[in-house]
Amino acid sequence: MSADAEPAPPLFREELAGGAMWSHVVKRHTTLRLTDLEGGVNVGMLLYNADRLSERYNMPDTLKAQHTAFVTKGRVLVSDMGCALLSITEDTAGWHDTLGGHLDAAETFAKYGQRTYQEARNAFTRPARDSFLIELGKWGLGLCDIVPNLNLFSKVVASEDGTLAFDGSRASTLRGAYVDLRAEMNVLVVLNTAPHPLDPTPIYAPKALGLSVRRSLPPGPGDLCRASRPEAARAIDNSERFFL
């Protein structure tokens, strides 16, 4: 199997409804593919080293090492211990937000109103913070383990004075878009499909997400993420050292 070959068949596939949550340990040298099934999904995501949960995705270290405020193909998602957790080996969406964070329950209900479980059963309004707390709780993690999260498939642009604006024009064009995340360690992925916190759409209408996992090759010397920047290569090297 070369980098150009057809990807291996999925080991499993799942579909996650809008507003729902998911977690899984994506094993080293397997690839998690996330697909925007409807166009306009937002995926709030946190990452932890499954073998050492005190190590986690670090937004500043990811950004400053790669001189970028967003992530896309060729970038690595770096931990606070200088290791690549996931490498972005393919991306047809082109921009994933790192700055917006997520809404807590009070902010969510203030923005959208609250559709309760009693009224709506499983279409109830689920705040991103609550989803993170629930999913983290399953792994012995909690509030203090929440760090600035990724928001995959969402684009937020900063003006010269730092004002942030959500790009709502992309949603319909992203139907079928996907991002491939190759695990460089055994990575606990915790995610939910609540709307992006800066999405101005006043109606709570979160979109569905496709997930699949397949085997992939370890990153060789010519790997596209290694080649993208020397910093990315050193982060991958650090992950490999973790297993030596």
Binding site: A69, V78, D161, G162
Partner: protein, 216 residues
């Protein structure tokens, strides 16, 4: 950018201390008190974390702060929010005009990624934080050292999404002043980084001052 000076007199301050280049500082600021950090010689990054003094599970959150004001840079008027989306302090004066909260703290490990494995041994902010926390026997672990503020540091994000560490816009004597909205614990690393322009390649001292709530 919102420049504003303060009328507080350093001679009236409760605490007035110099933090040398590369050192850590730990201090408590009571509700209503004023807290000033002075960039004594200019272009000095001051890596700063805040915790609720009574419940350290509540701590400064960069994303809540950014989202609360809809923008990336901290200046006069910025509410420094907690992970529970409550104001810990408010910036009430600022003669620099712009402070960073995306750049995080340098660490031995991130130095290996950014500059090479030969830089692992250099002094770093996370080392300062960890030692300060250990010596004070605070109930904080490495994972409680979250995405901090970098006072006086200039990390512009461009509309096309580039992020760079630029030469500082601060200068000797510039300061930022905050009012505590609750009792907070402040942990500072006066950044020792020598590999990028965040300190002008020459880390220098800062001065920290605290005034009573009734000082104004």
């Amino acid at each position: 950018m919102s420049l504003r000076t303060s009328s507080l007199d350093p001679r009236q301050a409760l605490r007035d201390e110099v933090v040398l280049a590369g050192d850590a500082w730990l201090g408590r600021i009571q509700f209503g008190q004023y807290f000033r950090i002075v960039d004594c010689e200019g272009n000095q990054a001051v890596d700063t974390l805040f915790y609720d003094a009574h419940d350290m599970n509540e701590r400064y959150s960069a994303t809540e702060t950014i989202r609360g004001q809809g923008g990336l840079y901290l200046t006069t008027g910025t509410a420094l929010k907690s992970n529970l989306n409550r104001a810990l302090l408010t910036i009430v004066a600022d003669t620099c005009g712009r402070h960073d909260t995306l750049g995080g703290a340098c660490s031995a490990e991130s130095n290996t990624v950014r500059y090479g494995h030969d830089k692992r041994g250099m002094h770093s902010c996370r080392d300062s934080f960890l030692l300060a926390v250990a010596k004070a026997d605070l109930p904080l672990d490495k994972q409680d050292l979250t995405c901090n503020i970098n006072f006086f540091m200039n990390v512009p994000v461009t509309p096309d999404g580039r992020l760079t560490f630029e030469d500082g816009i601060s200068a000797g004597g510039k300061y930022v002043e905050m009012r505590a909205e609750r009792d907070v614990l402040c942990l500072i690393s006066n950044c020792p980084q020598l590999n990028n322009p965040c300190n002008g390649y020459n880390p220098t001292p800062i001065r920290v001052l605290i005034w009573e709530a009734t000082a104004t």
